[in-house]
Structure formats: structure tokens, C-alpha cells
């Protein structure tokens, strides 16, 4: 995929400073100071490298936040992030499945490139993570939380502190989850895992010395079994859940959906899911408050994202493996006042999980390696009117025994074209007129007219990718 965003204006220390480059930098800085006074202070302060806190949650769908006008879920701390930063209204994953998506966040690459195509294909230690890049630039680094990629635990290069868990196939447990701390098993000190991981994150932040830090905090929450802490177990009791009209209580146990593990009434799980989101939000708040108390909040890039969405009855589905909006959209919020114009104004440009690594590197003024397939979102942070990508490629690889065919999809601002392998009929949706993707246009005059263009776009996006 071509890089559609221009690179940010930050300067890589790895690149030699030529006269032309120096003049360009001075000119750019002067122009920025003239045109965007709000950014000038940031540019001056930007000489100091920012800390980075990336918070990744599991299966948190994009609309399950109060700042997205969810009918009842309360996420005051994510709302704060959105208010003080930039929420990407059109953020997506390139594969809607935990392991591939997580590897994409880490590497800035598609699943077919980093090799973690599903929950069976192992992570290769030859992959280079963004943490390795930060470490090379002198950062203190930590990966804390859910690793959950196929194969044994990796030898992560460039990670000073690696805290994870392996129980339940790497999914971890909500309560009393034993941890693996730099290779050694340790009991959880707090019962609830989101609190424990936040504690560990704060310890890392607090324990740092002179270097800036890069923290990758990867929660188990809000994945199945969607268990909230004890004090929130009655939250949202009695609220109208407003599940989609095609849903009913039992859909999670038919048509193979039972392998998703969501056994039991849909309403029961959905309520717990929402409670677990609020519990996670509370821990995000604790982290933000601590950074603020340390006086480093504004020197820290804070990013919140989900690894994929989740169906709660839409299309009579639970789980996340189909390429409909509920699954492929994610929450993505970036807070870094020093490089953000107009905080609180959301961005409508399409952002992807593979954009995270280049964006963080760009924000830190580091070189973005050429093998990263995402693009820096820094231009969007600086100017919400900048032109974004027009389309992106989405891919899904067979993940036995989940009842989903392998497929490729292309999503543009308005249309989605899905090309399935096997005997399932391909699909085209007009997302403007049919946002719930209920009417497949393929086989209609409108759809057939769109097909050649969308098909050519898919071919173009897959070209040279060995797919």
C-alpha cells in the first residue's frame, strides 16, 4: 500500500543533516510558528522526546464509549482523552482478530507480512517491534499485559520489562492471574487483572531514571469472559441494552458461534462487557491521574486503542471475525497536546492499526522504517483537514474452528467490497445508505456497476504483496 499521508515534520536523528535539510527544517519551523501559534510551543518543547504510553484493550468496539454517545456505557476517562486529544472516528484494524491485530500494532505491518495470520500461526522473533525501535533511540521500554500470540513466549528485543501471562492459552484470567515477569512466574498481587496490570505499568513509569519511556500496556479486558470487578458487578442492571433487532438471547450458541466461548444469554454477557469497559476506563483514569501527579502527562503521548471490535447480535453474530463495521472498527484516541492542533476535534480520516507504530515513532521524532506498511497520523493530529487515505485493504485468514471463510476486503470512504474464498457469495455494501450492511449490492445493477472499480482497487492494493 502506498503511503498516503505525508511524513510528519519531525527529524530523524539517524539521518545526516545536510544544508538543504537544515534550511528546510528552519523554514518549516518558522512557517509552523507563523501559521499555528498553538503548535509553536509544542515545537519548541518537542526538543525533548516524549514518553509514550500505548494502552491496548481487547475486543473493545469503537462505539462502546460515552464520548461516542453510547446509550449507557460510562467512560469518563476515555472521554477526557478524547476531549484533550484526537479521537479517530474512522479507525480500523486490518485483520479483526486478536493475535494478527496485536502483531500489526507492534510492527506496523499487515498480517501477511508479519506472519501472525490467525491464532495458530506463530510469531516470529525476526519481527521488529516498535519497542525495539524506541529502545535503540535510548528509551526505557516495557511490554506489560496480554501477549497472546501463537507459539511460545517471544524473545522480545529491546524490551526492558516484559510482563505477561500464559494461562488459558495466553488469554489470562480476570481474577488472580499468575504473571510471567521477565521470564519468572509471579502471583498477581491484586485480584483483578486490569488493576494489577495498571499497577505494574505505574511501577515501571515511576521507576524510570533519566531516559524517556515507552510503555505498551496490553489489557486482557474486555475480552471474553467479560468479567467486571466485584464492585461493578451490578452496574447497568436494568438498563435497556438496545441490542439490534435481529439479535436474541441465544444466538451465541448456534451456527458454530459457540466456539467463541460466549455461552449463555447474550444480554448477560453484553451487560458484563459494558461493566468491564467501565472498569478498564477507571484504570485508564488512574494511569492518567498518576502521570498528571508526576507532572509528565503533557510530555507523554497517550494512545488508547482496541485490537478489534465485537458483534453483539448484529448480523446475528457474536465474536469479531467477519468484515462488518462492528468488528473492524476500533476506538483510537491519541493525546499529545504538544503536537495536536484543536484538541477535542475528532478526526474523520481513516486510521489503521498498522499506523500506530509509524505514528509513535514520528511523534518521538524517530525514523520510520521502510518496511512498516502503515502511515504516520501526525499530519492529522496537526491538521484535521488534511487529506487521508481513500481506501484500505483488509484481510482475514482461516482460523479453525471459527466458522468464517478466508477473505479479502477493500473499504473506501463509502463502499466495502468483500471477496470470500470458497462458495460464499461476495459482497458489496454502500456504507452511506446502508450503514448496517444489510443489503448486499452484488447482483444488483448498482453493485454490478461498482464491481469493476472495487475489484480493480483490491487488485491494486494486493499487488506485489505475494497474496
Amino acid at each position: 500500500m502506498s503511503r498516503r499521508f505525508p511524513r510528519g515534520g519531525s527529524v530523524s536523528p539517524a539521518r545526516p543533516v545536510t544544508r538543504r535539510r537544515a534550511l528546510k527544517l528552519i523554514g518549516g519551523t518558522l512557517a509552523a510558528c507563523t501559521l499555528a501559534p498553538s503548535l509553536s510551543l509544542g515545537a519548541l518543547r518537542g526538543a525533548k522526546r516524549p514518553n509514550v504510553v500505548f494502552i491496548l484493550t481487547d475486543d473493545h468496539r469503537w462505539d462502546a464509549m460515552s464520548n461516542m454517545n453510547h446509550p449507557f456505557v460510562q467512560t469518563p476517562h476515555l472521554d477526557r482523552l478524547a476531549r484533550e486529544g484526537v479521537r479517530f472516528n474512522n479507525a480500523f484494524v486490518t485483520t479483526s482478530l486478536c493475535s494478527p491485530s496485536r502483531a500489526s500494532f507492534l510492527t506496523g505491518q499487515y498480517a501477511h507480512t508479519h506472519g501472525v495470520k490467525n491464532n495458530l500461526t506463530p510469531w516470529s522473533d525476526s519481527n521488529v517491534t516498535l519497542l525495539e525501535h524506541f529502545k535503540s533511540a535510548g528509551y526505557d521500554t516495557a511490554f506489560i499485559g496480554k501477549w497472546h500470540m501463537p507459539g511460545s513466549l517471544p524473545s522480545l528485543r529491546g524490551v526492558d520489562r516484559f510482563i505477561t501471562f500464559t494461562v488459558q492459552g495466553g488469554q489470562g484470567r480476570y481474577f488472580d492471574c499468575p504473571l510471567i515477569v521477565n521470564g519468572r512466574e509471579e502471583p498477581s498481587r491484586k485480584s483483578y487483572i486490569t488493576e494489577e496490570l495498571t499497577d505494574r505499568a505505574l511501577e515501571f513509569i515511576d521507576g524510570r531514571r533519566g531516559n524517556p519511556f515507552c510503555l505498551y500496556l496490553s489489557h486482557k479486558a474486555v475480552h471474553h469472559q467479560f468479567l467486571p470487578p466485584q464492585d461493578l458487578k451490578d452496574l447497568y442492571d436494568g438498563v435497556d441494552l438496545r441490542l439490534p433487532p435481529e439479535a436474541d438471547s441465544l444466538i451465541s450458541i448456534v451456527d458454530g458461534l459457540v466456539v467463541s466461548g460466549v455461552v449463555g444469554p447474550l444480554e448477560y454477557h453484553y451487560r458484563n462487557y459494558c461493566r468491564t469497559i467501565t472498569a478498564t476506563d477507571r484504570e485508564v483514569g488512574r494511569l492518567l491521574d498518576s502521570l498528571e501527579a508526576m507532572g509528565i502527562l503533557d510530555d507523554t503521548v497517550v494512545v488508547y486503542a482496541g485490537d478489534n471490535g465485537f458483534f453483539w447480535g448484529e448480523h446475528r453474530l457474536v465474536d469479531k471475525r467477519w468484515p462488518y463495521e462492528e468488528a473492524i472498527r476500533i476506538p483510537l484516541i491519541v493525546r499529545y497536546p504538544l503536537m495536536t492542533a484543536d484538541p477535542g476535534i475528532p478526526a474523520d480520516q481513516m486510521a489503521l492499526n498498522i499506523d500506530l507504530a509509524p505514528t509513535l515513532l514520528d511523534l518521538a521524532g524517530l525514523h520510520i522504517p521502510g518496511n512498516m506498511e502503515g502511515s504516520s497520523l501526525v499530519p492529522v493530529l496537526r491538521d484535521r483537514s488534511v487529506k487521508g487515505r481513500e481506501a484500505f485493504l483488509y484481510e482475514y485468514f482461516k482460523d479453525f474452528p471459527y466458522n468464517v471463510p478466508e477473505y479479502l476486503a477493500v473499504r473506501t470512504g463509502r463502499y466495502k467490497y468483500i471477496r470470500y474464498q470458497g462458495r460464499r457469495k461476495n459482497e458489496i455494501f454502500d456504507l452511506a445508505n446502508d450503514p448496517r450492511e444489510m443489503n448486499n449490492l452484488l447482483g444488483t445493477p448498482e453493485g454490478d456497476a461498482l464491481l469493476p472499480e472495487l475489484s480493480a482497487l483490491m487488485d491494486r492494493l494486493t499487488q506485489g504483496r505475494g497474496m
Binding site: G169, K398, R424
Partner: protein, 191 residues
């Protein structure tokens, strides 16, 4: 005085096929209505319909033998015949699932899918209910003076087998441990 009853051995159709087919039809209708009722666009009764047809499909697939088995036995079917009649619905459902998932997987994988948690539980539950059914059948016979013992090792073993399967597949680690064992089998066979 206990009146003597004789179980009449009815025709193959009456003692095996009709009970099995009735269950199969109820299952098929329940499943079809459950899955498609929402498309009738009757939101005011959709939930009620789902609560009728969904559990009906679930019960007939997973527990049908508790009805079919004793009926077959009362109509003179042998244990083997009653067993076969009881297994028609769960096996037909599993076969339907194998064909359905062949849309996503190779045929080899699809047949392996037929050994996943839900199909295995359906088989195990029906075996357990057959054990119960046999004991129900015997208790009826005993009331009529035609049987001396109700509880014997084989039907008890069937019930224990079903409970053990339920524990291993669904309760042990909330189903996660069995799922990973199953996944290891998949990797060994297909990767």
C-alpha cells in the same frame, strides 16, 4: 395381583423410524424458524418466538433421546434399535454442521469440526439420556411386573459418561482447556 403385560414388537417403522423422524422434523422446523423468524419482521413476537424455537432446537438435538429411546423400547425396539433411533437427530445435525462448515474449511477439517465441543456434547448428552431412558423404561416394566431391576451398570455408565463429558468439555476451565486440547489435535492433523 400384578397384571401381566407383554410388549408387542411393532413394525420397524413404528418402533424405530416414526419416533426418530418425528424428533428430526421437530428439530428441523425449530432450527429453521429460530434462525429465520427475525426476517418476518415481527419484532413484537420475535423474542417470544426465539425463546420457543431456540430451546426447542437445542433440547431436541441435545436431549431428544430421553423421549425417543423409551418410546422405541416401549414399542418393542431392541436396545440397538432404540440407540440408533435416538442418534439419528444428533447425527443428522452434526452432518448438517459438517456440510455447513465445508463452506469455510476443507472436508477433512470439516469432519474434524464434527468432533468439536458442541457435536461431542450432543452425542454424550444423548448417550446419557439413553441411560436414563433405559432406566425409565425398566421402571415402567417393573411397575407392570416385567422387570426386576431398574439400575444396572450399563445405563449408569452411560449417565456417568455424559456427566464426565460435560465436565471435561464445558465445565473444566469453562471449556477453555478442552478447546485447547482440541486445537492441539487440529494442529497435529492439519498443520
Amino acid at each position: 395381583m400384578v397384571r401381566a403385560y407383554v410388549i408387542e414388537r411393532q413394525s420397524l417403522a413404528r418402533r424405530v423410524f416414526i419416533p426418530a423422524l418425528v424428533l428430526l422434523v421437530v428439530t428441523a422446523v425449530s432450527l429453521t424458524l429460530y434462525k429465520n423468524f427475525w426476517q418476518f419482521n415481527l419484532p413484537h413476537i420475535q423474542k417470544a418466538a426465539a425463546f420457543i424455537f431456540g430451546p426447542a432446537a437445542f433440547v431436541t438435538i441435545g436431549c431428544g433421546s430421553i423421549v425417543v429411546y423409551p418410546i422405541c423400547r416401549l414399542r418393542g425396539a431392541s436396545v440397538a434399535e432404540a440407540f440408533a433411533a435416538s442418534m439419528i437427530t444428533p447425527l443428522a445435525w452434526i452432518l448438517k454442521e459438517v456440510v455447513r462448515v465445508s463452506e469455510f474449511f476443507s472436508w477433512g477439517e470439516s469432519f474434524y469440526y464434527g468432533l468439536s465441543s458442541a457435536p461431542l456434547l450432543a452425542i454424550a448428552a444423548n448417550i446419557g439420556f439413553m441411560g436414563l431412558g433405559e432406566m425409565i423404561h425398566r421402571s415402567r416394566l417393573k411397575k407392570r411386573g416385567m422387570a426386576k431391576t431398574v439400575v444396572t451398570p450399563v445405563p449408569i455408565a452411560a449417565v456417568v459418561f455424559a456427566l464426565a463429558a460435560l465436565y471435561v468439555i464445558l465445565i473444566w476451565g469453562v471449556g477453555v482447556h478442552w478447546f485447547y486440547i482440541y486445537q492441539e489435535g487440529y494442529k497435529a492433523l492439519f498443520h
